[in-house]
Amino acid sequence: MVPVSELLTALSVVFVVGGAFLFVATRFALPIVPFFIFAGVVAGPFVEAELTLELARYGIVLLVFTFSMQIQFETVRTVLSDSEVVALGQIFVLGGIGVVVSVSIGLPSDQALYIGIAAALSSTIVGTGLLRTGRYRNLVYGRLAESIQFVQDLIAILLILVLSAETFAADPVATKLGYGVVLVGAAIVVNRQLFDLLGRVAGGSDELMLVSVIALLIAFLGAAELAGVSLAVGAFVAGLAVRRDPGEHLGMLDGLHSIRDFFTAIFFVTLGTLVTVPTTEVILVAGILTLLTTLVKPAATIALLLYKGYEARSATLTSLNLAQVSEFALVIAIEGLVVGALAQPVFDAIILAATVTMLTSSLSSRYDERIYQTLSGRGLLRKHYENVDERSAVPDDITDHVVIVGYGRQGRRLVETCEARDRPYVVVEHDPVLLADLAAECEAYVFGDAMEQYTWTKANVERAQLVVSTVDSNSVSNRILTLAGNGDVDVVLRARTVSTARDLLERGALYVSVPEVLAADRLVERVEAVAAGDISGADLRADSLAELERQAASEYYTTADEIEAVR
């Protein structure tokens, strides 16, 4: 019998149990991370955690590595301005409360710090890949949640860097930061100079590219180890060294994802195996952390967002998507435990809270609309009417107008058409980023949520002739039909599929635009032309390019669209 090492057996158990739980989670569309942790708890007695711990650390490394590979410097620039305040605010408020509360129940201050960190961070680094159940679309709150999380991720890396200092005196921390800077410098050099060379020399072999990239990663890890800096930081820096041009190295990236998925599964299951039977102390601390995360954090976030000018619905939906303990907190926790800085009970508490909050947050994301309706129905979110009034401009006597919902590319074209024909119109939009454009370019607009009755009242919909919605959201379409569909107002909506469109038509819409169907007509014409040989490929390309250039003049880019495009 070829000796199968203990480690391999442990790994097999980890995967078999993990796989079973994963299957259940996927089958019922539940978040995967908590289920992996459960699997770990179940497999715990059969697996010696120390065995798989090393491989689990590779999981952390790969997670952080692939995350940082996604960062492009331009994206950082456009996104930061939007959500810095909110992200930082969230961290300070929650972190502060977390530390204070922990100290007050008797935890030593260094342990309380970990609780504070767990309460503060809510980013899901896994949102960039493996375990995403997110449904972010081109909507305000989706964009918001992502950018807030992004800022938090950067801060988390910084935290890890600082925490790896021997003590918290200024000197060691400064040295660590110094090393950090040096590593980043090296990464930038590699990115700019060496990476292209590597690509050419590996000559299109995905396998070699993959090996080289991993070698690069491990080389940076080695350097980080020498500098006494945490491996997570080394991995993060290594990710910056990898150039991510779209289209190139698709195979290598996919390969990296497979490897990452493999090791992160090990990581989360191992996390579960490290959990011991909870004592009352553990449950107490976990309970506090959970409360902070599921109640205090959303409340604080909503308040911050309202302050920044977002209306209540976006604020609520965003906050509900951030109500969990971040995987980064888990990474920090496991590093702390392994090194001996974090006590087992506190570690257990953090894992427990993380598992629970990931589950609750996925549920609250699924029902976020309903939660919002309940909250606003109970009058808990009151102030938004003043905002709407302040930031709208609608002439009182407007009548027979067109209400245009959404001020993106389609909205702008429609406004153009109305102005060309001298027709009155009112634009309904709720993204504060567009407020300046609205004020400058539109003769009448309402800054408010299309889901709210008040917005429509403000837009004088009873006297309108036509409502056109350019928002790709079924709930919004349904809402519009309810709110504006009574009476003689014509309603034109937008849907993603023909079946939804037909449904909306039956319920009273005058017309429903399905973007792909509209594009299909043109497409079919051209397909037939080419297939039948009426036009050659080269000619078609030339014609199309020319048309593209003609239309380029009338391109509309909003800041929101820009962010979307860059991402």
Partner: protein, 574 residues
């Protein structure tokens, strides 16, 4: 305060060296396996001696072997080889017997002991899957007739390899009776497990995987878990885990989603296999390696022509054309990397000593190196040698083997509202319309409607290969992702017309420069169209109503599959 990863430094050295040597090997056209072996030799006691195997590396090496066989299993699509099965069996079994005799004979003559010569014979009868498949893919010859035959032979050999490995793994038999009992036990257990597996594959697996197939990450991990399940079970039963992994792979191969799985398992396998081959090198002492170097060279010189002649004779007997026979034979002249694998196991179980492993390593490396160049220039070689060989020319009809090979077809990537309207049109102009999609419900609906479907994610090379992009006449991509479309444009042939989708004018321009013939900009088109409708609304309400209705009720929309296109935009939280 910083926890350290004990094996990081070692792993770093291994990987960096492997990357460097691998790149040089790649530049000279050598297979990466040779590079990895050399890495191990370089870093281990044979040369520099800076790295020693640790627990993590040896576990990864074990995983490497298991995953290699798992991957092999996944490739075993029975339908793919069904039509070449007959000739392949008639070729591969005698071939193995003959090469075994040649190998053992040569070894005995060179002075090896009985058991050693026997083992050597047993391990040289395989050709290298890695080299052959890679070279065939590089030359784009996998679907040619000689290519198909070679692949079939390799598959049969792989099955035999796995049996051999299992036997070796059960340890040295005390007597012939013992050997017999071991053989029977092994076969018995395999039969049992095989039976259970087949039952599960037919009934349980398709349902199971169908439900989670839409989530590609989950699907991949559950498949890996499935492999580990077999590993665990086989370990408990005392059988080789590699055989278990292989069976797991074979079960999964019969599912329609296996191509995609292949692509996802490959990178993981490559990583672990790298470590496996490096660790073989790490075990070899300089002394062991070069003890039999002269014998290795001689053996190489004997076996290469021997293998060629044996294959040539057997293929010729089947009645293939001279060219097919020559090309098919010349590809298989090397000794497989499994020689090393089996050698390692044999050494571990005390069948033979390290020097034999050294001999086998050298033999494998030399034959692999030579074969790479031979395969690269096989056409030219054939032309040169034609005068000599022409007397064996046959009519060439022998057996016409039909190949499923798309040519001048249309490929549609992604099934959505956009492509749905185009499909019926394409059917008019092209004989074959192949649709690539990764949603289970779409795939089923499309198959019902009579289209050829490839299930998988277009981002994967395997999927692109399977749809025959290079030979397609027309390709339509409904993915608006720039990277996917750029990869697409790089893969198509020169005569292919390519239509893609984009969300932004910037992207569209890029795509035109990369060779796209038409870029669909849905958002712009919608905006324009909507504005036109608005105009019409103001102008003539009635005309607007008519136009609006026809848009959605238009009979040229294919209603056949209307229900299947999923409306993922619904639900709360939008």
């Amino acid at each position: 305060m910083v926890a350290e990863l004990a094996s990081t430094t070692d792993l770093a050295i291994i990987l960096v060296t492997a990357a460097l040597i691998g790149i040089s090997a790649h530049q000279t056209g050598q297979p990466t396996i040779v590079a990895y072996l050399l890495t191990g030799l370089l870093l281990g006691p044979a040369a520099l001696g800076i790295v020693e195997p640790s627990e993590v590396t040896s576990t990864m090496a074990e995983l490497g072997l298991a995953f290699l066989l798992f991957l092999l299993g996944i490739k075993m699509r029975i339908e793919d080889v069904r039509h070449v099965l007959h000739p392949v069996l008639e070729i591969s079994l005698p071939q193995m017997a003959l090469v075994f005799l040649a190998g053992s004979g040569t070894a005995a003559v060179l002075g090896f002991a009985f058991w050693e010569a026997l083992l050597i014979g047993l391990v040289v009868m395989y050709s290298s899957t890695a080299v052959v498949i890679k070279m065939l893919t590089d030359e784009d010859a996998v679907t040619s007739l000689p290519g198909k035959i070679d692949v079939g032979i390799l598959l049969v050999q792989d099955v035999v390899v796995v049996i051999l490995l299992t036997l070796l793994a059960s340890g040295r038999p005390d007597s012939a009776v013992d050997l017999g009992i071991t053989l029977l036990t092994v076969f018995g257990l395999i039969a049992c497990v095989g039976f259970v597996t087949v039952a599960a594959t037919r009934h349980l697996l398709p349902e199971l995987f169908r439900r989670i197939a839409d989530d590609r990450d989950a699907f991949f991990l559950v498949a890996v878990a499935f492999a580990f399940l077999f590993v665990l079970v086989f370990d408990e039963l005392g059988l080789s885990i590699e055989m278990g992994a292989f069976l797991a792979g074979v079960s999964l191969a019969q599912l329609p989603y296996s191509t995609e799985l292949r692509d996802r398992v490959s990178p993981l396998t490559n990583l672990f296999v790298l470590i496996f081959f490096v660790s073989i090198g790490l075990q070899l002492d300089a002394g062991d390696l070069f003890v039999h170097w002269r014998e290795a060279i001689v053996a190489a010189f004997v076996l290469i022509p021997a293998k060629f002649l044996i294959f040539f004779a057997l293929l010729s007997r089947q009645g293939f054309s001279l060219e097919t026979t020559f090309l098919g034979s010349v590809t298989m002249i090397q000794v497989s990397e499994f020689a090393l694998v089996a050698g390692t196991v044999a050494v571990a179980k005390g069948f033979v000593g390290e020097p034999v492993l050294g001999f086998l390593s050298l033999l494998a490396v030399v034959t692999m190196g030579v074969s790479v160049y031979v395969i690269k220039y096989d056409q030219r070689l054939f032309e040169r040698l034609y005068p000599l060989l022409s007397r064996w020319e046959t009519a060439g009809t022998g057996r016409t083997i039909e190949q499923q090979r798309y040519r001048d077809h249309a490929v549609v990537i992604g099934y959505d509202e956009l492509t749905r309207s185009v499909l019926p049109r394409l059917e008019k102009f092209y004989d074959d319309v192949v649709v690539i999609d990764r949603k289970v419900t779409h795939v089923e609906a499309l198959e019902d409607a009579g289209y050829d479907v490839v299930y998988g994610d277009f981002r994967h090379a395997e999927i692109r290969n399977e749809s025959g992009l290079k030979r397609a006449a027309f390709v339509l991509s409904s993915s608006a992702e720039l990277e996917v479309n750029e990869a697409l444009l790089a893969d198509v042939g020169e005569r292919t017309t390519v239509f893609v989708e984009a969300a932004w004018a910037e992207d569209a321009r890029e795509l035109y420069h990369h060779g796209a013939h038409y870029v669909v900009l849905s958002p712009q088109l919608t905006a324009e169209r909507l504005a036109e409708y608005l105009d019409a609304y103001f102008e003539d309400r009635e005309a607007f109503g008519v136009a609006a209705e026809t848009d959605l009720v238009n009979p040229r929309r294919s209603d056949l599959v209307s229900g299947a296109v999923e409306d993922s935009g619904g639900g709360s939280g939008e």
